[in-house]
């Protein structure tokens, strides 16, 4: 079964298609489950959806997050110290589904490897999850996951980077479903002053080799940057800025308001879409 054939609520491609029909880019928001604790992180994910995020990316905290900058590293440490378990992500997936947005899980590979690839896929599908984003799994090592994703109707989002050769862009995107995650710069997650010109170039190169939507992540934190990226990409992915917003206030309520306000700002940004 293809993910897009799945009956029921909107899938990842449906959401991206709808955004395209509205003449805008989609907004994808990331938060890790368990930060500052499991219930609060789920409230924050609902605030993302309420603020206009089209698709939620739920992170599983990991002890060795080598693609993450200080903000998400810290959140993962807090989450793990607080006793967050892999299975908590399934609770978060259900909550996001109920809030009305597709939920993709972003995870380092050893978490899934230990859980059991097929068992994880099965449980994720049963919870209503849309699929996985795998920052340290390239399709070359992903045969088990690709097979499990097909079996359970899940999307598999792999990353491409500015350093990817055309040959690798072809092979990596051929293994993707849902969308292609284009890393805007060489580096780890975290807000940057500007999203570099290499992101635009990478999106163009990716479009030449595949028909899937291309979404851009790494470094986007403001409405203005979102508008800029929306000018050339199908979706804008924001992570660290939401994590920062969630811990910005004096208490959880303030953090949730800040998350929602940032989502609203970014949602306006992706509708503004500056032509480049």
């Amino acid at each position: 079964m293809n993910p897009s054939d799945r009956p029921g609520p909107e899938g990842v491609e449906d959401v991206l298609r709808r955004a395209a029909e509205e003449g805008r880019a989609a907004l994808i928001g990331y938060l890790p489950v368990g930060f500052p604790d499991v219930p609060a992180s789920i409230e924050a994910m609902k605030a993302l959806v309420a603020g206009g995020v089209d698709l939620v990316e739920i992170g599983i905290p990991y002890s060795d997050p080598l693609m993450d900058g200080p903000v998400i590293q810290h959140a993962a440490e807090v989450a793990l110290r607080g006793g967050t378990r892999t299975a908590d992500v399934l609770t978060a997936v259900r909550a996001v589904r109920e809030a009305g947005a597709p939920a993709l899980v972003m995870t380092y590979w050893n978490i899934v490897d230990r859980y059991g690839v097929d068992r994880f896929a099965q449980d994720l599908a049963a919870a209503g999850g849309a699929g996985l984003i795998t920052p340290d799994l390239i399709p070359d090592e992903g045969a088990d996951w690709i097979e499990a994703a097909q079996r359970h109707g899940l999307d598999r989002v792999f990353l491409v980077a500015p350093s990817s050769t055309d040959e690798r862009l072809r092979s990596t995107t051929a293994a993707c479903t849902g969308f292609v995650y284009a890393a805007s710069t060489m580096g780890v997650t975290g807000a940057r002053a500007s999203v570099g010109p290499r992101a635009h170039e990478l999106v163009e190169r990716t479009r030449k080799v595949c028909d899937l939507p291309v979404c851009v992540g790494l470094g986007v934190s403001t409405g203005e940057q979102a508008a800029q990226v929306a000018g050339y990409a199908d979706g804008v992915i924001v992570g660290s800025a939401f994590v920062k917003a969630l811990s910005s206030g004096p208490d959880l309520a303030a953090g949730l308001l800040a998350v929602r306000a940032l989502a609203e700002e970014l949602a306006l940004g992706v509708r503004r879409g500056v032509e480049q």
């Binding site: 900058g69 590979w109 050893n110 340290d136 500015p162």
Partner: protein
């Protein structure tokens, strides 16, 4: 020569020379579990190395550096007074401790630094637990005029202030890593983050036979000179191959370095000694094969210390060089096919062997290498007086004097108490070298 590993059939059987097996995969271990952003650099490294390894100019330059800079070949020393405690077996030490910078680390570092130059990369980064690989990398960078940045856990920089100074004297910058457990594993994470960001100008000079392909193969190849020399030396000295080879295993580069030339000699037992810390059953150890499970860490599939959710468990050892929650993928494979065996040596056993070599032979070994010495005592008692044991003495113990003095109660005010036997180590005073 073709061999099927004894007692194994089915998917674990291996035919063909074991020494001919290169990455990316060693059985089900190894691979390349990395962000896509690093793939181009790994492919470039793989291509560059494939050309360099058969280029007489490259291999000639490396051989010249070994001979004229780091002091190869390292000698083989028979240690009869030590061997009296090893069941009377003959024990011979491969003296990697006598290399420039004090350990086997320089073998790999010189090779990779030449590769960096060949790729036009003028900046090298490295992780270090507390010093030996960092110092070796800083040394090679100074020699070849490269910019050098070494990542070291904050805990280790504090405890190993002298090694930090040593690297800085050599012109390297040292970054103190405050993430996670603030030790070697986190230094490696941070080095990976730097590499993802600066990969187009930077070579990540990994210090052990772990990491994503092609690192496990490249580092092994640069270390196998140890076994090649030792094989010829022991044939000349003893007239036959040894019955057993003992080496310590953290990531496992010195062990693979000495094992590799003997992989296809079925009569030679290859034994890796992992750091048992307080004892494998206490949970406070660094014995990834004996106390871990297969998983993915730092770019490869191998045995790692992890909990039931796949979160990495922090390792513990008196020896920082072995204090790593993973192990090179080729070791995991050699374990699985039964060609090498891996045993744990705990802190107290290693420190006893450390003291024994000091007192019987006048050689102060690295605490890492002392795990192999403790293993040799065990193996010698099994073999008896007819046995011949080759031990890789991977590093010297000058760096460990402070730890050892505390362990044996030799600090000022505690003089003449060395015979009181081991004491509890001072918490956290124990991070020094990575193997």
């Amino acid at each position: 020569m073709t061999r099927v590993v004894e007692g194994r059939t089915g998917p674990l059987a291996h035919t063909g020379p074991l020494a001919a097996v290169d990455g990316p995969y060693f059985g089900r271990f190894g691979g390349r579990f990395v962000p896509e952003a690093l793939v181009a650099a790994l492919e470039e490294l793989e291509r560059t190395y494939a050309q360099a390894r058969i280029d007489p100019q490259f291999t000639g330059e490396l051989e010249r550096l070994h001979r004229e800079y780091s002091g190869r070949p390292s000698i083989l020393t028979e240690v009869p007074r030590f061997a009296e405690h090893a069941g009377g077996a003959r024990v011979l030490l491969k003296r990697e401790d006598l290399n420039h910078t004090g350990s086997h680390k320089i073998n790999n570092v010189l090779g990779q630094a030449l590769l960096a130059v060949r790729m036009g990369k003028r900046r090298v980064i490295a992780e270090t637990g507390a010093g030996q690989h960092g110092v070796a990398t800083a040394t090679a960078a100074a020699l070849m005029g490269l910019e050098c940045l070494v990542f070291m856990g904050e805990e280790d920089t504090r405890r190993q202030a002298l090694n930090v100074a040593r690297m800085r004297l050599l012109g390297a910058d040292v970054v103190s890593v405050t993430a996670g457990s603030r030790t070697l594993k986190d230094a490696m994470n941070e080095a990976m983050r730097d590499w993802v960001t600066n990969v187009e100008t930077t070579h990540y000079l990994i210090g052990t036979v772990a990491g994503p392909h092609p690192f496990p193969t490249i580092v092994r190849d640069f270390q196998r000179v140890i076994g090649q020399e030792a094989r010829a030396q022991i044939l000349e000295r003893v007239g036959r191959l040894p019955d057993a080879i003992c080496a310590c295993v953290g990531g496992g580069s010195n062990a693979l370095g000495i094992f590799h030339a003997f992989l296809d000699d079925p009569g030679v037992d290859l034994i890796g000694f992992e750091a048992g810390g307080d004892g494998v059953d206490t949970g406070r150890h660094a014995a990834s094969i004996n106390g871990g499970l297969p998983g993915v860490l730092h770019g490869n599939r191998t045995f790692i210390l992890q909990d039931s959710d796949g979160q990495t468990i922090e390792s513990h050892s008196v020896s920082a060089g072995l204090d790593y929650p993973g192990v090179g993928p080729q070791h995991s494979w050699l374990h699985e096919i039964g060609r090498a065996r891996y045993e744990a040596v705990d802190d107290a056993q290693a420190m006893d062997a450390f003291r024994l070599l000091c007192r019987t032979e006048g050689i102060i070994p690295a605490i890492e290498s002392s795990h192999a010495l403790a293993g040799a005592l065990r193996v010698g008692r099994e073999l008896g007086p007819d046995g011949v044991i080759l031990v890789n003495l991977s590093g010297r113990g000058d760096k460990d004097v402070d730890t050892a003095a505390r362990w044996f109660g030799l600090m000022p005010g505690e003089e003449n108490s060395a015979d009181r036997g081991p004491r509890e180590p001072v918490a956290g005073s124990d991070h020094q070298e990575e193997a």
